[in-house]
């Protein structure tokens, strides 16, 4: 028996007994949960404190006693939670018992595990404690967390539960095992598939969606900032350095805002992806990243359903994008994709190489076919309707009497031109291709998302035909895959039906182990 087998066996033996969370983690959880509660209910808390100051009978002594009582209560609850929370491995089933007032028991069989993630915030590092999360085929809604366990326990759990993943081949022949340390869950024999350089990290920050997310998060601050500037700027007499032209001043202000957003987006990327490494551990792909909050995610290729190559508008200009690896039940749509298995900071060649290594084996994306030109006209009409409604509201708000004759011409021409441009861009971006057993589907307007998935990974499909499509002999294909619905609109009807038949034949003839998985297993065995 090898050293790894022995460590696996001893780890499994220890985990067969009931285990508890780390006491350090419980104390820290109390602190973080308290801070989180205060942050979430800050207005309520401030209002309550303001109310207390008005009651004369309550002084600092009473407030202190109340706080101490609350702290004591929280400590007692924490202690009860700690005593109640326990877990163990029953064969290949993880059993978790928890609950303060309502006792709950969870059972997760290894064969149903699709994703395991390990997080180590900065405050848990000195104690060598991690937060361990497991997700089943039911998706993100099924996520169960062990909020603070020792690193060794987490590694042993991950190893044991992923050993029985279909297609992993680990059940029969365990690999060399996991290295110790906060950032080394892959086996020592694993090779680094992709590492992020500082330059690539900065470019990812600039071209990722986080710049929009940060802008949306900061938007409520615009009004208070405007008020503050209005109140304070005249008194400060700082107009001397402002340019005389209002247009230049506004332009400079916009540039400053954009620069601030870009810096924040780069900082966010640095926070999340510092030290990023994607390691190939045969059937498992392990990624480790994070500046203060170290994250480690393991993806089983047997569970991989759809790979998306994503480029934002700025990303296309700078030639950068990222890959999102989807499994079953990805909740939250695009907004929550940062929580998923994301490979950042890639140029097109690297992205295509990685897609090829994960799945298809091709060194470039296939040429994509366009859908019917009628779709462009439909898009133009739909966009025009939307813009027309917006223009009507604008006219109603401004008042028709105030609009000059040239204004009417502008209001008529701009929506028509804009709708035509948007429709053309969306139609040109939309494309699809079938290469061997894989389907490629690209969608978007300025940014682009290209989904790649084996035909056999389809969940269900629908053929949709409006009366117009029936008259023109067209049909839309709606494909339900692990990360949601993909639509191939306005295909020639015979083509749509043939593609639907081929997709269904691929799904229905696929056995538990798909050809892709078999190929991966064969590659791993050869290596």
């Amino acid at each position: 028996m090898s050293e790894e087998d022995e460590s696996t066996a001893s780890g499994a033996l220890v985990l067969a007994e009931w285990q508890r969370l780390s006491p350090w983690a419980m104390g820290l959880m109390l602190g973080t949960a308290g801070l989180s509660l205060v942050r979430q209910h800050l207005p309520l808390l401030l209002a309550a404190l303001a109310g207390l100051t008005l009651v004369e009978r309550i002084g600092w002594r009473e407030v202190g006693a109340g706080a101490a009582l609350l702290l004591l209560l929280a400590g007692a609850l924490c202690l009860f939670y700690y005593r109640r929370f326990r877990f163990r491995l029953d064969g290949d089933v993880l059993v978790i018992q928890k609950g303060l007032f309502e006792h709950r028991e969870f059972k997760v069989a290894a064969r149903h595990v699709q994703h395991i993630a390990v997080h180590q915030p900065l405050y848990l590092r000195p104690f060598n404690v991690v937060q361990w999360q497991v997700e089943t085929l039911a998706g993100e809604a099924s996520r169960i967390e062990l909020p603070g366990i020792r690193r060794g326990q987490a590694d042993a759990l991950s190893r044991r539960l992923q050993a029985d993943t279909p297609g992993s081949g680990r059940g029969e022949a365990p690999s060399e095992g996991l290295a110790d340390g906060p950032d080394a869950a892959a086996s020592p024999a694993s090779r680094v598939r992709h590492a992020l350089s500082p330059g690539a990290l900065v470019l990812h920050g600039l071209t990722s969606r986080s710049i929009y997310v940060i802008a949306a998060m900061l938007s409520p601050l615009v009004r208070p900032l405007e008020r503050w500037l209005h109140d304070h700027l005249p008194q400060l007499d700082r107009f001397a350095w402002l340019p005389d032209s209002p247009l230049v001043a506004v332009g400079l202000g916009l540039v400053a805002v954009l620069l601030a957003l870009a810096v924040l987006a780069v900082l966010a990327a640095w926070w999340r992806f510092h030290g990023y490494e994607l390691r190939d551990d045969g059937e498992r792909q392990v990624q480790v990243s994070g500046l203060f909050h170290r994250q480690e995610q393991a993806l089983s290729l047997a569970r991989l359903q759809v790979v998306e190559w994503v480029q934002t508008g700025l990303g296309r200009l700078l030639g950068r994008g990222y890959l999102v690896c989807h499994q079953f039940g990805s909740l939250g749509g695009g907004a929550a994709e940062s929580r998923r298995f994301l490979v950042p900071g890639l140029n097109l060649a690297e992205g295509v190489r990685l897609i090829g290594e994960l799945w298809t084996g091709g060194d470039r994306l296939p040429p994509l076919a366009r859908v019917s030109r009628l779709y462009r006209r439909v898009l133009w009409l739909r966009t025009l309707l939307g813009l027309g409604a917006g223009v009507a509201v604008l006219i109603w708000l401004v008042g028709p009497a105030l609009i000059p004759p040239w204004g009417w011409a502008l209001l008529a021409a701009v929506p028509v031109g804009l709708a035509a441009g948007v429709a053309e861009l969306r139609w040109r971006t939309l494309g699809w291709a079938r290469r061997e057993a894989h389907l490629y589907l690209r969608q978007g307007l300025w940014g682009q998302r290209t989904s790649v998935f084996p035909l056999s990974h389809l969940i269900s499909l629908a053929i949709r035909q409006s009366w117009l499509q029936r008259r023109r002999g067209l049909a839309s294909l709606e494909l339900q895959v692990a990360n949601g619905r993909l639509t191939l609109p306005f295909l020639e009807e015979p083509l749509a039906r043939a593609l639907a038949d081929q997709l269904l034949a691929s799904v229905e003839s696929a056995t538990e182990e798909s050809p892709t998985t078999r190929r991966r297993s064969a590659c791993a065995a050869r290596r």
Partner: protein, 180 residues
């Protein structure tokens, strides 16, 4: 294990076009029309009983309610016609459901993707002896396919057939040979 990757004969594939579909129960049409009418009656009651202070608007209120009733009647009639065109089919490897009047949608759920099956019915459906069959797949946020308008016995037979497929045992032929 030997690696096999044989080519699929595209000409021999079973096609969706050639699949004969069975219509849903004819009782679904009045059932759906009734449900639509009830919904629009609630809207009508709200429009009719909403306290309006403006006299001109109050004069128009019964006419507005009448208009809502008219829209409700049209919606119920359309629903009736649409439901009469609904159909479903159960093949060896998948379940097919077609619906829609202006926009026709044919949905296909491969049975290998099925995780569990549920039968549901509200009081109106029970009064008409109808049952809905909800089919769920892995990782879905809700039912991926809801087959409406099955008579209770037929729904149970289809459910048993699907459960037999889920458990890997061959379904009894009797269950698929019943007529709607």
């Amino acid at each position: 294990m030997t690696f096999r990757n044989q080519a699929v004969d595209l000409e021999a594939l079973p096609t969706l076009v050639s699949l004969p579909l069975s219509p849903v129960s004819p009782r679904l049409a009045p059932c759906q029309a009734l449900l639509v009418l009830v919904r629009w009656l609630v809207v009508t009651a709200v429009v009719l009983l909403f306290p309006v202070r403006d006299e001109t608007l109050a004069l128009w209120q019964p006419w507005l309610a009448g208009g809502v009733v008219g829209v409700g009647l049209i919606a119920a009639a359309l629903s009736w016609v649409e439901v009469r065109r609904r159909a479903y089919g159960l093949r060896e490897h998948d379940l097919v459901y077609r619906r829609g009047l202006l926009v026709r949608r044919t949905q296909v759920l491969p049975l290998v993707r099925l995780q569990h099956v549920e039968t549901l019915s509200n009081p109106v459906e029970r009064a008409f002896g109808l049952v809905r069959l909800a089919c769920f797949t892995a990782g879905g946020r809700g039912a991926d396919l809801v087959l409406e308008g099955l008579p209770a016995q037929r729904a149970e037979a289809v459910k048993q057939h699907l459960l037999a497929r889920l458990s890997g045992t061959p379904p009894e032929p009797r269950q698929t040979e019943e007529t709607p």
